[in-house]
């Protein structure tokens, strides 16, 4: 099983995302922003970082890259897509997920080990977790505050598309403490926290994040 990991100029966490994919037992295939072909991958991770410097708006310029045209098309055919941090911002800018991510309410970059509750476990990326599981993974972002209009938020809640929620001291002022959401099918997921930095207790606060990548394998096998 092959999982594509996209690199834009300014992407930082592609190495970690690829490592997490391999640890979960899949093959990581690196995709370049100029690629107009997904090289036969079964799923795509859009990793974190500062694509195009995050200039203008986070994720805005990346959402127009040639590779994203392919990702949007493949997502439309049901291919699982995960956006982490800057990847989440890119998926929102590309219109694959609703809402937007704006400057943290505290105006500072926040890097911390963040407790989260897994609210929904029937997505392609969270099947390994028990409903209501509490996990700790790094959060590191300047524009991590999820916003959408009330109607959209109500729809997300109503359809059970809030995948992850922040616990404890609110890190960034996200509306309804939303840390991650999905599309209606549960195959496209975006999240601000970094599960790829929590795959080994040697280098992260826990290995709680590995479940995200193992979930994908389960989802693909069960198809």
């Amino acid at each position: 099983m092959k999982v594509g990991v996209i690199t834009f100029p300014g992407t930082l966490d592609d190495v970690d995302a690829a490592r997490a994919v391999r640890l979960a037992g899949a093959e990581a295939v690196s995709l370049w922003h100029r690629d107009a072909d997904l090289r036969g991958v079964d799923a795509v991770v859009v990793p974190g970082g500062f694509s195009y410097g995050d200039y203008l708006r986070c994720g805005a310029i990346a959402s127009f890259a040639p590779v994203m045209t392919e990702v949007v098309a493949a997502a439309g055919r049901g291919m699982p897509v995960l956006g982490i941090c800057n990847g989440f911002q890119i998926l929102c800018e590309a219109g694959l997920l609703p809402g937007a991510l704006v400057r943290n309410a505290g105006l500072h970059f926040v890097c911390r080990d963040q407790w989260l509750r897994v609210e929904r476990t029937d997505t392609a990326w969270t099947g390994r977790y028990e409903a209501g599981a509490e996990i700790i993974v790094p959060l590191k972002s300047m524009e991590g505050r999820y916003v959408a209009d009330e109607a959209t938020l109500d729809t997300l809640e109503g359809e059970g598309r809030v995948v992850l929620r922040y616990l404890g001291d609110p890190p960034n002022g996200a509306l309804r403490e939303i840390a991650g959401i999905s599309d209606p099918s549960g195959r496209i997921v975006g999240m601000m926290p970094h599960p790829e930095h929590a795959v080994d207790a040697l280098t992260g606060p826990s290995d709680d994040g590995l479940g995200v990548f193992l979930s994908l394998l389960d989802a693909m096998v069960s198809v």
Binding site: P9, G10, L12, D13, V15, D16, R19, G49, F50, Y52, G53, D54, Y55, H108, F109, V110, C111, R112, P138, K140, M142, H194, E196, H197, V199, L202, T203, G204
Partner: protein, 630 residues
Amino acid sequence: MTGNEQSVDTNSADTNSAATSFVDTVEHARATPDTAQPHRELGVKDDEYQRIREILGRRPTDAELAMYSVMWSEHCSYKSSKVHLGYFGETTTEEMRSTMLAGIGENAGVIDIGDGWAVTFKVESHNHPSYVEPYQGAATGVGGIVRDIMAMGARPVAIADPLRFGPADAPDTKRVLPGVVAGVGGYGNCLGLPNIGGEVVFDESYAGNPLVNALCIGSMRVEDLHLAHASGVGNKIILFGARTGLDGIGGVSVLASDSFAGGDAGGGRKKLPAVQVGDPFAEKVLIECCLELFGSRLVVGIQDLGGAGLSCATSELASAGDGGMRVELDRVPLRAAGMTPAEVLSSESQERMCAVVRPEDVDAFLAVCEKWDVTATVIGEVTEVSEEETARGGRLIITWNGEVVVDVPPRTVAHEGPVYRRPVARPADQDDLIANDTSGLARPSGPQELSDTLLRMIASPNLASRAWVTDQYDRYVQGNTVLSQPADAGMIRIDETTGLGVAVATDCNGRYCRLDPYTGAQLALAEAYRNVAVSGAVPAAVTNCLNFGSPEDPGVMWQFEQAVRGLADGCRELGIPVTGGNVSFYNQTGATAILPTPVVGVLGVIDDVHRRIPSGIGNEAGESLLLLGT
């Protein structure tokens, strides 16, 4: 060479893009020997100016004067510190040298850490720019040290930032500290370099002169070590990265001012802000581009462009190589209209590198740059030098639209600047200061007072939690951070298969150094050494950033000399070499110098990072607490 500590004029005036078209060529300089030149305004002393004239056998052109002035500045030439720094070399034994692949004099020191891996690390200051414009000053400080590390052929893998500010409640600290922290974070986070350590110290003496030191560690395979030199006649010089603009030109703009060269018609640009603005995204792309170039073996020699811009890169590359170089300066891609050759040579625009490339590799080199959207331009080549020219220090010729504007022996620019043996005198107040010890201070008298004192101490700015700072830094990126805040030393994994890693700690207590700079520097060394040792790593090498007041003050010079001797003697005692460092003088407000602050960084090696020792007690029930030492 990265930092820029020259003074900054913040009164910007209009930039005149239609600057004078007159260019001061070598030919013109020969024909007009008596033209007055603004050497003093550029910080060149009368006798230094005379020496330049002697070296060249004529007056320098504007462009040459710009080059000499910046390269012979304190910051670039180490003219006041050189005679003292030699002591580091004298005290380094063969055994200490055995793991050192590059030492003092290179962009950064490199040590062999085994298994075919080498690690390079260095700390630099960006103090004055960070006071003028805290965010950009700190950001470009990080950018500069990272390019130093890249210039060794290494992948930058971690940064740390020893910082010093005025009192926490001083109004200006509220301006400086948040800006500096945001700048270090803004730049470092965007580069994808984990921040694994540093210091935050508050003291009155830094109120008008904060210290922003930045450390970077890089790793590489031993065979990939690149040294900055331009050798191989016919090899091409390629400038790549950002375009060159008017930012950071500062003093040199005097050459384009009304009173010189330009005349009324020229309408010079005076008083540009000497502030550089960083573009971390451009630097991130430059890092990846460089690593791909190194990996494809397309680079013979490489040099970063920092404090002295192209003046430094061209003269250092040439003098460290075969000695001959010819550069067509008008090929440099510019960001501003009407720049003069002197301005192009002095620009401190960030995010640029200069490489020496074999002619047959040029196309492949440019293709890699194209892939990363990095602008790259062949600006010159390595040239043959005669024996006679070599004896004079090589020959660097720079042309501007076909006319020669620079024709100098590059060694005289890069390595043969003035050397001063400044007067040294133990400060008159030193004895009084030492006599005024703590014996007269009241001691806590009972348990209540003791516990109050403890609480007050814990809450004091110098001991309180640093989370406000460190929470703004990404410590996870790259997935190799094994120890970071809170920790005695930061530690990162270098090799994922074997677990080989390195640890680093920086320390300095300026108050101890003020009382006794010799022992104070040794205390800083001992503390950093201990911090590395208790993390489980074996200390292996030392870097330093020597932050002091004015070298023209004999008392400061005494502090400096003592600190260097203390540090060098301490290193010999411990058996680890100083592999590099940085000197920052003129850290003072009026006549008052900062506390002498020789920041010491120690790097250690650990065979397997799984055996790291995290700090903290109480992780398991039944632990025993032992006190070691006296």
